[in-house]
């Protein structure tokens, strides 16, 4: 009896300590957040900062509420510009990652392609790519296409490098296996190399999603009809700093959600990596 009772009791105890650890973490995180808010308020009040330099947290919250508590189609709300920005970055992301995967695959599979493209790929990789945004606006205008192209350019490079590296990192034994089965090049690529490279490719997609959003907003700063970048510059023009802060919170939250979404998809697709690690 006593032995039987011991099992559940000890697991209950460990669950308790696990709960306590989680509670402690929440308390620490919450504490830091409150401390930051207090510092913020003290700084504004203590130094007598004007609201067009640094607004109070309450004002930011009000601006956020004003932007969110409206019908989705409202022109003054955040939804419309957010939709424009997200749809453009999504298209750019799809375009850039598809091209990056395609070229990365060709480079990994065919040495001549690698030799021909590698120097340019690395030279462009080390160029701060937002610097070419003005050029792209000249070529593609102030409409959606320039936003999509810039987002695609920023997504392209991490995808190219990651898919190339991942495909080349395929275990030689797995390639030998396909050789003993006289598998074709395409079969080896699809059944062995691509799944082997999947963790690398997902890391590239994760980076690419954030870069696409970044690229779109930079492009919108340079000139656009609508988008979060436009909303931010408009609010800046009227010194509505609380509004700018609210936009940043919206964009920050969007970025986090994109990252979490990508991680969730990765765990689904690349189910074997974490299990094998454990």
């Amino acid at each position: 009896m006593s032995v039987k009772a011991e099992g559940p009791a000890s697991t209950a105890k460990s669950r308790e300590t696990l709960c306590a650890a989680r509670l402690r973490r929440v308390a620490v995180n919450g504490g830091v957040f409150v401390l930051l808010l207090v510092c913020w308020i003290v700084a504004v009040r203590g130094f007598g900062l004007k609201s067009y330099i640094l607004p109070l947290p309450g004002d930011v919250l009000k601006a956020l509420w004003a932007g969110l508590a409206v019908p989705i189609t409202d022109k003054t709300g955040f939804y419309l510009p957010l939709w424009v920005t997200l749809s453009n970055s999504a298209l750019g992301f799809l375009l850039g990652s598809a091209l990056g995967l395609l070229l990365g695959s060709l480079m990994a599979e065919f040495r001549p392609v690698e030799t021909a493209i590698m120097p340019y790929a690395f030279a462009l990789q080390s160029l701060p790519k937002v610097a070419i945004a003005p050029l792209i606006v000249i070529w593609f205008g102030f409409g959606n296409s320039s936003k999509i192209v810039i987002a695609a350019t920023l997504t392209f490079f991490p995808m190219l490098v990651n898919s190339f590296t991942g495909l080349r990192a395929t275990e030689p034994d797995r390639i030998d296996l396909m050789r003993t089965l006289s598998g074709t090049r395409l079969e080896t690529y699809l059944l062995v190399k691509l799944p082997s490279a999947a963790p690398y490719i997902f890391a590239g997609l994760d980076m690419g999603a954030v870069y696409a959003l970044l690229g779109t907003i930079v492009a919108e700063f340079l000139g656009a009809q609508a988008g979060m970048g436009v909303t931010i510059t408009q609010l800046q023009a009227v010194s509505d700093v609380a509004g700018v802060f609210a936009c940043l919170i919206v964009l920050g939250t969007t970025g986090i959600l994109l990252h979490l979404g990508m991680r969730a998809i990765e765990r689904r697709v690349v189910h074997w990596t974490e299990r094998t690690r454990n």
């Binding site: 034994d173 797995r174 396909m178 050789r179 003993t180 006289s182 059944l191 999947a198 074997w272 299990r275």
Partner: protein, 272 residues
């Protein structure tokens, strides 16, 4: 059925046509520093159809190199290597390879892994015979794991799946490169018995590389002892221990220890 090891087909120069013939096979490769290394030096051997041959030798003596040549993964740099009378020019459907690690693809289930040979290359287009695959899985004792992923299996179970995969195309020859080297001693002994059972049921020709002298004596019709690099066949030792061999009876056979001692003497003489 095979009841002893002295059947005509097992004798090296018996009437049966040898399936694998190596005559003066050499293999040279260049290291990173530019030196040339003679991995294999004029290897001669013949393996009869249905024979179980073990290749033992010191580390780095070119055992795996030789296996890769037979598998058609690397070309010979000299000599003649034939399989069923035809020179080996590349991988063939007549050969199944079991690697040092199970080498299963972690993104496929066990069933998808073992039926891979029927879906790619020369096996493509043929209707996948699920009955046969299932029969092989049953023989290997892993039928209940067919829909599990490799990471849900123990090392021994994974290696069984690797053997089933190598048998999927019903090849004539099974090449095994230290297939049980990474397993614990108990699992290894169990799989040795299983492998003999599978061999006797499927009547394949097996060439198995091992570091373990005990394993080679337990399994083989004939043990080939290789020298240190450059690898040559030092001696071939026929193993006339009665079959079926079991973990209880075979090690107790008077010849068992004598054969082990003989092989060990050759290997240690080589190392000194």
């Amino acid at each position: 059925m095979r009841t002893d090891g002295s059947a005509a087909a097992h004798a090296p120069n018996g009437p049966a046509q040898p399936l694998i013939v190596a005559q003066g096979v050499s293999r040279v490769y260049a290291t990173v520093s530019g030196e040339t290394v003679h991995a294999l030096d004029r290897v001669d051997l013949r393996i009869a159809d249905g024979e179980f041959v073990c290749l033992v030798g010191p580390s780095g003596c070119g055992k795996s190199t030789f296996l890769r040549l037979v598998a058609g993964l690397d070309p010979c740099d000299g000599g003649r290597l034939t399989l069923g009378g035809r020179p080996v020019l590349g991988p063939s459907s007549e050969v199944g390879v079991v690697f040092q690690t199970a080498n299963l693809l972690p993104w496929f289930t066990v069933l998808a892994n073992v039926s891979l040979p029927l879906r790619v290359g020369a096996g493509r287009g043929r209707a996948v015979d699920n009955g046969r695959i299932h029969e092989l899985l049953t023989i290997a004792g892993i039928a209940e794991f067919a829909n599990k992923y490799p990471y849900e299996l123990s090392g021994g179970m994974q290696q069984r799946a690797a053997i089933v995969r190598a048998l999927a195309r019903d090849p004539k020859v099974l090449l095994m490169d230290e297939p049980f080297g990474a397993l614990d001693a108990l699992t290894r002994e169990r799989l040795n018995v299983e492998l003999l059972r599978i061999w006797q049921a499927s009547r394949k020709t097996i060439l198995l590389i091992t570091h373990s002298i005990a394993e080679s004596v337990f399994l083989a019709d004939r043990v080939l002892v290789m020298s240190a690099r450059p690898g040559r066949i030092l001696r071939e030792i026929p193993i006339h221990l009665p079959r079926p061999r079991t973990l209880d009876e075979t090690p107790a056979h008077p010849d068992y220890v004598r054969l082990m001692t003989e092989i060990r003497g050759l290997l240690y003489g080589e190392a000194l």
